[in-house]
Symmetry: C2
Subunit: 419 residues, 2 copies
């Protein structure tokens, strides 16, 4: 039977050149996050369907790769729906597994628990360029820290890592769900339609303030409320300091500590950062996941016009599962996007060992073979990468290809060494 | 809805202590294999069912986690069998994906292609102690090298890696499928029953030569053939050099170069090895997978009474799929077993950065918070791991726990520093 040589739809094989960059990034990420006290953990790629469909995953729950029941559990004749056929599925994110992990192991874990997860997730999305059905996520989370110490450390850890990977001139755009809510309350929008307001606000970078205004009116919101809402944004545009402007305007509509805390987060990060980036308060950041309860943030690469990750505070989620409220905050690097950017920029992994190639004539006698291998072993012990291969008939072509692959010197071994 | 906090049946959560060892081993393995010219690659965890059921996976094909078809492709009402419901599955090994990968990308790859794969595989085995349904495999393979240069480099790379991970006093037991076959031919066993003979021979370490003899007779093999077969093994026991004994006895029953080549492999590795282990010719090594065609080998840890990996030559497999024969040889480290041994031995990752903890009083004013974070950032830049946490009410207990977790020094930050 012929093999299907293509990877399955929407997933990809990773070539050696990309793997080298991926492995390098993984090691920088793990090392840097460890220096902030994050601990690596891993959960199975497979989760129970019940956990994956607990309504914490938003639209991702529609994209689950479901795994068929096995053995006696599979009752094909009686099955009426997908649910009857499947008991497990591939995880679509690392947050649901983290919460399960924390619930199960909290008594064995350091408190607060600072977790680093790097692992594949799967989503049966419509395949499109640069977007795959299997991709790596890279999340750090702090569970059990209620204050902005969590946000500060998460942002510093992530930005320090990005800096070490060579990124500069980027922004961390930050907002607060409670500010979004207070702006809506202040304007007089009905409480039950806050989410709708946010969905429109989220389009600000594409349709502008006029577009937001038009859409809100179109959606039937009261003109007075829309006016007031729009005035907040134009007011911020003109204000010297957006946060101070909001603090004054929203007084009474928001808990007193929200804006000072956010300001402290921004200023502390700015004062202690070790990478070239700017903290930017952006009142239009919304972020999709409904579980966020406080700070929300995104990595923006303005030169590239893209976001490379994000996160926020989700104080309600652990409690929803365990019954006991535990504060939590996380930051996710868009690992695949970072790799894509580095590949496109022709990134070269730094400090690679010297690459040497030994070319062995075919039918080398045992003593000459041993001599070659002995020499290779010695060079390896000295920290060099040594490839030992048989000499091709077209040696010139072979050496050219190896040179293109990064080999900088060659040693040739013949059955009869020239005397 | 309550979360199921247990991982799915047969799979496990990995705790930070184990992850640290795993991450360390992965980095040593990747670095050492790179020094032998192996290139990391990765394939999707999901493969098409057709590839997974191509009869190259032996019994593993019965243990596939199958993935339900999605969208319009799923026709529940018409489905009569598992096959109708599933189009993809989780890979059960890294060999089938490697062959698919090589078939697809061979024109873009270095020749011979030296691949390193570290990745999870899944098998719906009956759960048992120390054996999981998701586990990491760690394979190196050389595709396109017909001579024993492949075996020599595979064995040196694997043993050098094991040595760097602290293993010593182990053995590489090596055999040849063609020797197994020649011994059976020499004895006069019928060709079509060679596999059966091997299945019995494989039990030698458990039932001894008398047990093997009894089982062969019991299975209806001719007494004369069994006598001749048994005499080969007793002869080898008494011989000074097993290979020379076999070379003489089997002359005429085996291709002339098989034993000299095997001897050259053993002697070259012995002469150039950089770890404390012994090469042992073991004529009772069989190895299960039917795709092996030449050399077969295993890592034996006699002190622990277990095997920690193995491999062999499988010259026929690529050709079976692509139509063009390509020689191939691979060696797999039993990664999970290695980790288990290191954990049980209380292995400590060497050269870890110093771990410092900063304890911050609650409600630290902004300037003191900034001071603490600034100092932490400086220490991190100097290569230290710094954990910044809030001070608990029971500070003594907190410090004790952190000391147990490896923190060697503490710095405390108060709202009002003692003057």
């Amino acid at each position: 039977m012929a093999l299907i040589t293509k990877p399955v739809t929407g997933m990809k094989d990773i070539m050696p050149e990309e793997m080298e960059i991926r492995d390098y990034c993984i090691s920088v990420i793990k090392k840097t996050y460890a220096s902030f006290g994050f601990q690596s953990i891993e959960t199975p790629c497979v989760e129970s369907i019940q956990n994956l469909t607990s309504k914490s995953g938003g639209d991702n729950e529609k994209l689950i790769f479901r795994i068929l029941k096995r053995g006696e559990k599979l009752r094909l004749d009686e099955a009426k729906s997908e649910a009857d056929l499947t008991d497990e599925g591939l995880r679509y994110d690392l947050t649901v597994p983290l919460v399960r992990y924390y619930s199960k192991h909290q008594n064995e874990l350091q408190q607060p628990f600072k977790a680093l997860q790097m692992g594949n997730v799967w989503r049966a999305d419509r395949p499109q360029k640069g977007r795959y059905r299997q991709f790596m996520q890279c999340d750090i989370d702090i569970i059990g820290e209620p204050t902005n110490l969590a946000e500060i450390e998460l942002i510093l850890a992530t930005t320090t890592t990005l800096g070490k990977l060579g990124f500069s001139g980027f922004q961390i755009r930050i907002n607060e769900r409670r500010i979004l809510k207070a702006m809506a309350v202040y304007s007089g929008f009905p409480t039950e339609r806050f989410d709708e307001v946010c969905i429109t606000l989220d389009k600000m970078d594409k349709i502008g303030i006029d577009g937001v205004k038009a859409e809100l009116l179109e959606n039937g919101f009261e003109a007075g409320a829309v006016e007031k809402y729009v005035a907040l944004f134009t007011g911020m545009e003109q204000a010297q300091d957006k946060l101070s402007f909001l603090e004054k305007e929203l007084a009474g509509s928001i808990e007193e500590d929200v804006i000072p805390n956010l300001r402290e987060t921004i200023e502390t990060v700015e004062a202690t950062k070790q990478a070239d980036f700017a903290m930017v308060f952006d009142p239009t950041i919304v972020r999709g996941m409904s579980y966020y309860t406080g700070t929300i943030f995104e990595i923006a690469m303005p030169q590239l016009g893209i976001s490379c990750g994000g996160g926020g505070r989700y104080d309600g989620m652990v409690g929803k599962f365990t019954g006991t409220d535990v504060p939590a905050c996380g930051f996710s690097i868009g690992f695949e996007r970072i790799i894509l950017i580095l590949m496109e920029q022709g990134f070269k992994v730094p400090n690679r060992p010297e690459k040497i190639c030994y070319l062995l004539e075919k039918n080398l006698p045992s003593d000459r073979l041993r001599e070659a291998i002995e020499s290779a072993q010695k060079a390896r012990a000295e920290g060099k990468d040594v490839l030992v291969v048989r000499m091709n008939k077209n040696k010139k072509h072979q050496k050219q290809q190896l040179t293109d692959a990064g080999y900088t010197s060659f040693q040739e071994f013949y059955a009869n060494p020239i005397q």
